[in-house]
């Protein structure tokens, strides 16, 4: 019998291109849903033969939303190749730029991409279910979002010269120029407004959650492993530390201190229907080793945020789940707001650091190692850049494990759960399908980043006639 499918193509208000295929059984009941990523980029292949110091500039071009995360992970991999710990101030400034990245990216997802669903309603008129509709109905909230995003972008610009693709500033072994007093003062001036905007939004969100319990229960609410960077004493960290993995019940199952061994913890599976890899927790295997990364996972794995206001919120957040582990994908939104708060506080701390204005940000570098691994927390989760170079510093091999990829198994679990709950094929309405899209938005995937590989993806092509009969099938 012909398999019936409903396609959501494209999934809207996400970064990159994807579609969801909802498979129905003979009674038109949802059997399964597949999150298909249809982008194709090829960064791992075409960087071969390029000088290693070009890698931050090239790899960060995979994304216009989170280029800083790539700059950081790439620069750290290059730091290893040159065998140098960057000067203290360079690290502080890289961290500061990274705070700007997290703030702007999280603000983009919450206010621009997800809020239209959350505030205007999943079933509201599609033509108005966007940032413009939000500006019309909730102008104050929309303005808050726009200003928060601007603040994040301003941090990046003041530190590194440009809001997007500021790759000139980052270099192996440090950074190109220090932070001026004038730029630091400018950013300090922004802090109170940014903090107030975040706190107001968080308060509003807490009140709204009471009315969103059905979504909390049904939007990707399942047990998986969680992964994220923490400092040596278990604090939330976006730049460095150790990769902590917790089990579905909240117990720490592994900690990867030596990033060169990330391959012992993370396996990468592929499926013929998607260009995005399916990483899994290796000791458990595929697909049971499904894990999530990003804001929800980071707050689940962290013992504290390291800043007073965010720590208060973290205590409250941990109570939302069992054993301190929040499993509902819907709470990515909650975690995102708490992380913005933490980043604003950290920005303030960094700007007051006594070494922040030191002129010593650059190291003189040579190639000392032929392999480098850089790990950082991108807005969407743990990002790994792994390069091998020859004696002249030319890239001979590149593996990038992208934040969005880690949760790929969970994406598919989540779209299936939501589709089963809401999609009634015999009385199909647009709002039902929007809920499937909305759970994808909760993860905040960045698919332009996640589809960087080439040459290893099995590819399946199906030839289907007008009646839906499968005529031919080719697999590479």
């Amino acid at each position: 019998m012909v398999e019936k499918k409903i396609h959501i193509d494209p999934v809207t208000r996400i970064e990159g291109h994807a579609k969801v295929a909802i498979l129905l059984n003979e009674d038109d009941v949802v059997k399964e849903a597949l999150f298909k990523v249809v982008d194709f980029r090829g960064f791992e292949k075409f960087t071969e033969g390029r000088p290693f110091y070009e890698m931050p500039a090239i790899t960060s071009r995979s994304c216009g939303i989170c280029p800083v995360a790539h700059l950081i992970a790439s620069a750290k991999a290059c730091d290893q190749i040159v065998g140098i710990n960057p000067p203290k101030t360079a690290v502080l400034l890289r961290r500061l730029m990274h705070m700007g990245q997290i703030i702007q990216s999280h603000a983009l997802n919450f206010f621009h991409l997800s809020s239209p669903d959350l505030l205007l309603g999943f079933d509201s008129e599609p033509a108005k279910r966007n940032i413009f509709g939000l500006i019309e109905k909730e102008p104050e909230l929309a303005l808050r979002g726009i200003k928060l995003r601007k603040f994040g972008q301003e941090i990046i610009e003041k530190v590194a010269g440009k809001k997007i693709h500021s790759s000139k500033w980052v270099q192996p072994g440090g950074a190109k120029w220090p932070l001026t007093q004038e730029h630091a003062d400018y950013l300090r001036g922004y802090l109170p407004e940014a903090l107030e905007a975040t706190q107001k939004t968080l308060d509003m969100w807490k009140q709204m959650l009471d009315g969103l319990q059905e979504e909390v229960e049904n939007f990707g609410n399942f047990q998986t492993y969680h992964m994220g960077l923490v400092t040596t004493n278990g604090q939330l960290d976006f730049y460095d530390g150790k990769i902590r993995i917790i089990g579905p019940m909240g117990k720490v199952v592994d900690e990867c201190v030596d990033f060169t061994k990330y391959g012992d913890y993370i396996g990468e599976a592929v499926e013929p229907w998607s260009y995005m890899k399916f990483p899994y927790y290796k000791p458990v295997g595929y697909p049971n080793g499904a894990y999530r990364v990003g804001p929800l996972a980071r707050l689940n794995v962290a013992d504290s945020c390291g800043t007073p206001l965010a720590d208060e919120e973290l205590k409250w957040f941990k109570q939302l789940g069992k054993n301190g582990v929040v499993q509902s994908t819907f709470h990515y939104h909650t975690a995102r707001l708490i992380e913005i708060l933490s980043c604003i506080e950290t920005t303030s701390q960094l700007l007051e650091h006594p070494d922040i204005h030191s002129k010593h940000v650059t190291s003189k570098v040579l190639i000392n190692n032929f392999e480098g691994i850089g790990v950082a927390e991108a807005p969407r989760g743990t990002l790994i850049h792994h390069y091998k170079v020859n004696e002249q510093g030319m890239i001979t091999w590149n593996n990038m494990v992208i934040a969005t990829e880690h949760s790929n198994i969970a994406y598919n679990m989540a779209v299936t759960q939501v589709a089963k709950k809401y999609v009634k094929a015999r009385e199909l309405q647009e709002g039902m399908l929007n809920r499937v899209e909305a759970v994808v938005r909760a993860f905040d995937p960045c698919l332009s980043c996640a589809t960087h590989a080439i040459g290893q993806m099995p590819l399946e092509i199906q030839l289907i006639d007008a009646s839906g009969t499968l005529l031919d099938r080719k697999i590479r």
């Binding site: 000088p51 070009e54 500039a57 071009r61 790759s167 002249q392």
Partner: protein, 240 residues
């Protein structure tokens, strides 16, 4: 006691203006000394003209042929047009063929915002290339201690070759092969790190108009020096 040397001159018109210039100078020089700017890429003051890029082409009345201003001597009676819609289109075409020939990705290039090809493309409104790009895949040679050549960005202007030969006197650099296979080589097509004649003087990186030759780890705006050849020529002539 000062000595006056009588110099023969020629009379010509550039863009309708009657001029008298020394005999033997090029149209480009005649235009420049009279305040008319003609776009160039391969030309560099202090080096012998090459006439390779064809960006400086001008119209001379009486013929439909276009002439490179950098290598064509100014002659008596010439009526020269340096800027016209026809020339503008022709220069756009030249820039597009240069961009299409190799792999020019400004966004990740060391010379981004400090590149003469990029600047000329911007000046001429070249916002796309209408030819199919070659997407060259030339090897990047970084075997030298600090100098790097990325031949994918080379426009074969030969400034590096001329400065190495005429100013430094080493003649480490030269060209091999022809047409689209032409490439800058070191000594007998050796890796740069093995090229014994190279004095590591950096002049090639200073005069490269694009990001093909650069100093690893140095901001390109600090490396580039368009006046280096003219400056050294002047100094050395003074010493003689």
């Amino acid at each position: 006691m000062s000595r006056r040397i009588d110099q023969n001159t020629v009379k010509l018109r550039i863009n309708g203006i009657q001029l008298e210039v020394p005999e033997g100078i090029t149209i480009l020089k005649a235009a420049e000394t009279n305040g008319v700017e003609i776009p160039t890429l391969c030309e560099l003051q202090g080096l012998t003209p090459y006439g390779g890029c064809r960006l400086c082409v001008v119209e001379i009345s009486g013929t439909t042929k276009l002439f490179p201003a950098c290598t064509t001597p100014a002659a008596s009676g010439m009526e020269i047009t340096t800027h016209s819609p026809k020339l503008f289109e022709y220069r756009k075409l030249v820039l597009q063929t240069l961009l299409a020939e190799r792999t020019h990705i400004c966004a990740v290039c060391v010379a981004n915002e400090h590149c003469e090809l990029q600047a000329q493309a911007n000046n001429h409104g070249v916002d796309h290339v209408m030819y199919e790009r070659n997407w060259s895949c030339e090897e990047v040679d970084s075997t030298h201690d600090f100098l790097v050549i990325d031949r994918n960005r080379c426009i074969l202007c030969t400034r590096c070759i001329r400065v190495c030969d005429q100013i430094e006197g080493a003649h480490t650099l030269d060209l091999k092969l022809r047409g689209k296979n032409t490439n800058v080589i070191m000594d007998q097509d050796q890796k740069w790190g093995d090229a014994k004649s190279c004095t590591s003087c950096r002049k090639c990186a200073k005069v490269c108009p694009v990001g093909a030759i650069y100093i690893e780890g140095e901001m390109i705006e600090l490396t580039k020096d368009r006046d280096i050849a003219a400056f050294l020529t002047k100094r050395r002539n003074r010493q003689k």
